[in-house]
């Protein structure tokens, strides 16, 4: 068993309105960051898991995203996995 760190990025489906992104963009413009052309907001999940291999960790993560972590009607997801080192293990 090894420890893996999964980074899961859950993002709103393209085409879906993202009022939060819009609000952030407006706020940035009002702070004079005029050259911000677009903002999209998603969710970031870090999961530390135990698994026999990278592949197993990834498969598990995909299943978890499908079953719970992302809503198929409105969200897409992407997963990165890496073996946890001293550094990535949280304090």
């Amino acid at each position: 068993m090894k420890r893996f760190r999964l980074e899961i990025r859950v993002t709103p489906r393209p085409g879906l309105l993202d009022p939060e992104g819009k609000a952030i963009q407006n706020a940035l413009h009002s702070l004079d960051y005029e050259r911000v052309l677009e903002v999209r907001v998603g969710k970031l999940l870090y999961l530390d898991v135990e698994a026999a291999s990278k592949g197993e960790a990834l498969d598990g993560a995909e299943a978890m995203c499908r079953r719970l972590l992302a809503n198929p009607v409105t969200e897409d997801f992407e997963i990165d996995v890496q073996e946890a080192t001293e550094e990535t293990v949280p304090a």
Binding site: E20, A23, I24, N26, A27, S30, A91
Partner: protein, 766 residues
């Protein structure tokens, strides 16, 4: 703990030992812990030896202003605290009063000013969390929240950030737990620019017999921590004394407490079930100074001792020292004294609500607050001297010369104007202090629990009590500008206004909790404000027969040495015997007669008019005639109970003109017009916008008008019909001797409801 020698036998207890790595106790370290040399001498006297680092932390927390009330206790003892209906006065987590039909009401207010200034969302959220726990640890189910807020002016981006964060924090927490918000207040003034005020009040309902106290009773009974795990949140600032302050230590030790309303909801249900189960003898919220204050206070109140082991406390992070565990302010935790043998039953109840309960120690008979770390004893302090022995002070109080000058400012030039005030009028209606606060309470669930009969927006919130004809009402009030300019009359006005607000919804004012928000009490001019304010509060509460059953003191509300306006917030509760008496502030029918009760005066000092139009905080605030006020309130209650009134609304900020607008617009759904004629021989500005106290605008069927006036007379109140309610398309019109004011109702509505949303638009995400 079972494998250790009997903890009640003094002989088997090893003596206190400093831990390895503890810093030596030096004069600097003592000072950094906020203890004066004479206070430290008292510590030495109590212990008969030098304290360990852990013990120093414990004393520092318990003798801080927040827990020890060292600069306020003596004055607070002057407040009236008893009445036949008071079941629990000050000294417990919340006050409790008898409200009839076998029911009791627990209620309390608490501040979270400093945490909210650092992190508005979490600061406000955890403030609500704390006050809910204070109420449900008494055995009462929370039924309503109120929040009393102060900020700088909304034209500052920083202020808007604080305001939106605080409102979201108050809302999210209460909404998630499912307690309706029924009222409160918000006031904007540059006097609060650097230092917002966030006070939250909670009302809880219980059967009188279900009252439970935070006492450690029954020697040998186990102490259990329940709820969330302990982390390094909000540990007393003094912690940093133990290490060099660096970027890194800042990052590793966030002082911000994060609220988890979801856990709180579970803790609420579990606690009420625990109390009902009879398996526990005491329960206490872990508020400021966490385990330290809850355990030692429970021991102190019962006269017993406690022994707790830091190694048994479930922690969130490895490597926490006893010092850190003792002083952590992690949220959503409680300390429970279970009956011996009931440990499993307690654990089972918590498990049902998906929570943990861990036994961390026992009640002892030696009167000591003893803390172990496994086999080592790291602190051993006599409980009573620790909780009650904090030295108390009466300080020197002198009025600030500067403020006195402001109060004595010559305002006579404002008596000269008599031309058209329409523009001024519209500006005032759009001032955030007068405009509708819907932007704010529209983010608060106000109807959950299906008990709210009067929602925020009126003079006071009302919650009906299911299964009875009764209802309770609550309000929070204080105009800090008044108190700043004149602490005495300003505080009288706060109490009077709170009572008046309750009366306007049809409730009999019954009891008070207060939150005293002030600057640094070591400064003579602040202590002066504090003293005058408490004395005035005592006087007014006695006269209104509204005893003070608890409260909170928040000192040191200063930025760069500048204090906030002194703000003694009055949280007052009242009782309606019959829900049919519930009265609203909005006019109800066209052609109803509008009657003004109380006297218009030529007072313009400390008014919203001066602030908005002249940028002035100056002049003598409106005077308060307590006896007249009492007569007025009795009169209004009598009218309501006789079924005469269709609306009642108290006149406050913005004066009579603004009060009439508020009654005309209501919540904006059914707008009505107003036609009023005033014959007073008064200068225009004070007549329209002066904030004379002791006035209520009521409306009634024209056929009842004489009866209403007779009631007024009987109570020695000046009452007169001033006009009538008209259809909204006939507009809003006030005619005075020298002036007339006219406005379109739609325009008024747009300004009144649109002012704060417009200011907050584009405030950015929070």
């Amino acid at each position: 703990m079972t494998d250790r020698p009997d903890s009640t036998g003094v002989l088997t207890v090893p003596s206190v030992m400093p831990r390895e790595g503890d810093p030596p106790i030096t004069a600097e370290l003592v000072e950094e812990h906020g203890l004066s040399p004479s206070e430290y001498d008292r510590v030495l006297e109590i212990l008969g030896r030098e304290p360990t680092f852990t013990e120093l932390g414990v004393f520092s927390a318990m003798w801080s202003e927040h827990c020890g009330y060292k600069n306020s206790k003596r004055l607070l003892s002057l407040l009236p605290t008893t009445a036949p209906w008071v079941i629990q006065g000050p000294g417990e987590n919340a006050g409790v009063i008898d409200i009839g039909d076998g029911l009791a009401l627990a209620f309390k207010i608490e501040s979270h000013n400093h945490p909210s200034a650092v992190e508005p969302y979490q600061g406000a959220a955890t403030g609500v969390g704390g006050i809910l726990r204070d109420v449900f640890t008494m055995g009462a189910r929370p039924i309503a929240i109120l929040d009393s807020l102060r900020f700088g002016d909304l034209d500052s981006g920083r202020v808007r950030y604080l305001f939106s964060g605080v409102v979201k924090g108050v809302g999210d927490y209460g909404n998630c737990v499912g307690i309706p918000n029924i009222g409160g207040e918000v006031f904007f003034d540059r006097g609060y620019e650097g230092n917002p005020i966030v006070n939250a009040m909670c009302l809880g309902l219980m059967k009188a017999e279900d009252l439970i106290k935070g006492e450690a009773e029954g020697v040998g009974n186990p102490l259990m921590v329940v709820g969330a795990r302990t982390g390094r949140d909000g540990i007393h600032g003094a912690t940093f004394a133990s290490e060099e302050l660096s970027e890194d230590s800042q990052a590793r030790r966030p002082q911000v407490q994060v609220g988890d309303p979801f856990t709180e909801k579970l803790l609420l249900e579990a606690s009420l079930e625990l109390i009902k189960s009879g398996h526990i003898t005491g329960i206490q919220d872990m508020g400021a100074a966490g385990i330290t204050s809850s355990a030692s206070e429970m021991a102190g109140r019962s006269g017993n001792g406690v022994e707790i082991d830091m190694e048994l406390v479930p922690v969130r992070e490895p490597g926490m020292t006893p010092y850190e565990i003792l002083l952590s302010e992690s949220q959503e935790r409680m300390l429970v004294v279970a009956k011996s043998g009931s440990e499993k039953a307690v654990r089972d109840i918590l498990a049902k609500w998906e929570l943990e309960a861990e036994e961390i120690g026992r009640v002892t008979d030696d009167g000591l607050f003893r803390v172990r770390e496994g086999d080592r004893v790291v602190a051993e302090i006599p409980s009573l001297p620790l909780t009650e022995g904090c030295p108390t002070y009466e300080r020197e109080g002198i009025e600030s010369e500067e403020i006195r000058e402001l109060r004595c400012a010559d305002l006579t030039r404002f008596n000269e104007v008599d031309d058209d005030q329409s523009e001024t009028f519209l500006k005032l209606i759009a001032s955030p202090n007068i405009a509708s606060k819907r932007w704010l309470y529209g983010q608060y669930d106000t109807t959950v629990r299906t008990g709210t009969a009067v929602r925020p927006g009126g003079d006071a919130g009302v919650v009906r009590l299911r299964g009875t004809r009764r209802a309770v009402a609550a309000t929070t009030d204080c105009n800090g500008r008044y108190v700043y300019l004149n602490p005495r009359s300003g505080t009288l006005a706060a109490v009077a206004e709170a009572a008046r607000n309750l009366v306007c919804v049809g409730a009999l004012p019954t009891a008070v909790t207060n939150n005293l928000n002030f600057g640094n009490p070591l400064k003579p001019h602040i202590y002066y404000q504090f003293r005058e304010s408490v004395l005035a509060m005592a006087e007014a509460c006695k006269l209104f027969e509204t005893p003070v059953t608890g409260g909170n003191v928040s000192f040191y509300n200063e930025t760069d040495g500048v204090a906030i306006y002194p703000t003694p917030v009055i949280g007052m509760v009242g009782v309606l015997e019959d829900v049919d008496h519930i009265t609203r502030h909005a006019f109800q029918n066209e052609d109803d007669t509008i009657i003004l009760l109380g006297d218009n005066t030529d007072e313009l000092g400390a008014s919203e008019y001066l602030y908005v139009m002249e940028g002035l905080v100056a002049g003598e605030p409106p005077s308060v005639d307590l006896l007249g006020e009492r007569g007025l309130q009795h009169a209004v209650l009598a009218m309501i109970q006789d079924g005469l009134l269709n609306s009642a609304h108290d006149v406050s900020e913005g004066g009579l003109a603004c009060a009439l607008v508020e009654s005309a617009l209501g919540e904006g759904e059914r707008r009505l017009g107003v036609q009023v004629t005033l014959r007073d021989a008064l200068p225009v500005l004070p007549l329209l916008f002066g904030e004379a106290q002791g006035r209520v605008v009521v409306s009634c069927d024209p056929r009842s008008a004489d009866e209403v006036l007779r009631h007024a007379k009987r109570h020695g109140v000046h009452g007169r019909a001033v006009g009538k309610v008209v259809p909204s398309d006939e507009g809003f019109r006030i005619d005075g001797r020298a002036t007339s004011l006219e406005a379109d109702i739609e325009i008024l509505a747009e300004l009144f409801f649109g002012a704060i949303p417009t200011l907050m638009d584009g405030a950015g995400p929070s």
